[in-house]
Symmetry: C2
Subunit: 253 residues, 2 copies
């Protein structure tokens, strides 16, 4: 299999490297910034191209891994491509590729990717959608090289997964950041929270979160809640979030 | 060293088992409910007692691991105990033990403990506080048997750590629960989020959360934020939290 990667950001980079490591040939990399295309291309033994007209017509699959609002515009520019075209977004409808190619689909890895952090694809759920059986089989074949967890998900459900991921990942990371604000304000170091953060994630790997909720709000421990609110009196934004989330936890009792 | 454990809940159980595994003798276990004391005592080769008058005067340390508002009342009942008395709470002042014993202190493990989940103490930060040097050395000696991360923390700072832990653990787990609500409402399964939750925690093990924040709010991606809000229109409580946390993330840009 021969792949063209459109984009050189976090998802494009992680995908390209993971595929190449599984002996999938990355033929070309394109990016808005040719330098970024070059950087990624070098890492995966591919050719960097600076125009979408140069796309390799012999490639089997073109993966569009760019920011959401650029997908449709890029798709328009590769209408001549004969292979399968798939985007990697959680939030964009598959039908944005309708009329662009005969075989098209979505290849959405439900994971958070960072620039400098390696990660294994084996456990990452790959959410696949395709406009026909041939496209689906191609995407499944590609997914199977990377992960043991590929799953068919239509555009509607994929958007829900993306929304749930905002709660479980983006908002969660923000709470880590708020915890750090509390610590910094009192000259304490974030490092001391790391084992707790790890264990909090580990606890829900084999249980549902509702079953393992702890803390003053679920215990209805008004005394501790009040003390905490007093400690946050000089950080009104944190105080608001403390109250909002504590009240939300109480409703689950 | 010979220890008496007061309490038979999550912290008491995990502590007693971890200490016994390191060849620290657990002499006795007391609990409000004698049956619970018996259950734990059996597991750690100790004697269950049903009255605090029976406390072993030869023991070196008495650890009070009960809910916060019971600590002071229990301390009053063990005034005759000659050894060191320490409580294990994050939120309760050390001075609640003033006048109770000559040597007293706090032995607070900064971690979340669940009933059915084993965990290793090696990486758990043990926050120690003591009223004198002898008490401090005793607590340090005990801590060193369990963990490589013991740290001296006064009552004021300990309360801040406890508050930060609410953000990093209790609120975080609640966000996992809210993510599950989004999924359930749309007939999707929580399991698909587990690798993402793991990686979100893993990312901040070597970085600060502010540096690895991702998602539509930090990108100021108004289109996606709007789509997500539309998806939550039938879950107004989730919608409110979505808006509150997205706005809070935007302020960190």
């Amino acid at each position: 299999m021969k792949i063209v990667i459109i984009g050189a950001g976090n998802i494009a980079t992680h995908l390209a490297k993971a595929l190449q490591a599984k002996n999938v040939q990355i033929a070309q990399v394109w990016s808005y910034h040719y330098n970024n295309a070059l950087t990624l291309a070098k890492q995966v033994n591919a050719q960097a191209i600076d125009s979408l007209n140069e796309i390799d017509q012999q490639a089997d699959v073109c993966l569009i891994a760019v920011k959401d609002d650029a997908i449709s515009e890029i798709a328009e520019q590769i209408k001549d491509f004969k292979g399968l075209i798939a985007h990697t977004s959680g939030a964009v409808n598959m039908e944005v590729l309708n009329g662009i190619a005969e075989h098209y689909g979505v290849f959405y890895p439900l994971q958070t990717f960072s620039k400098d952090k390696e990660l294994s694809f084996v456990d990452i759920p790959l959410c696949l959608e395709a406009n026909n059986e041939i496209a689906l089989q191609t995407l499944k074949h590609l997914a199977a090289k990377l992960s043991t967890h590929s799953v068919e998900v239509n555009s509607e459900k994929r958007k829900i997964l993306h929304l749930a991921a905002v709660f479980a990942c983006n908002f969660t990371n923000h709470l880590y950041a708020l915890a750090n604000e509390v610590l910094k304000f009192n000259e304490l170091d974030f490092a001391i929270l790391r084992p707790l953060i790890n264990e909090t994630a580990a606890k829900v790997q084999h249980a549902l979160p509702l079953a393992v909720q702890t803390g003053p709000a679920i215990r209805n421990d008004e005394q501790t809640l009040k003390k905490h609110e007093e400690l946050l009196v000089q950080q009104p934004q944190l105080l608001e979030i403390y109250k909002t989330l504590s009240n939300s936890i109480k409703k689950t009792r």
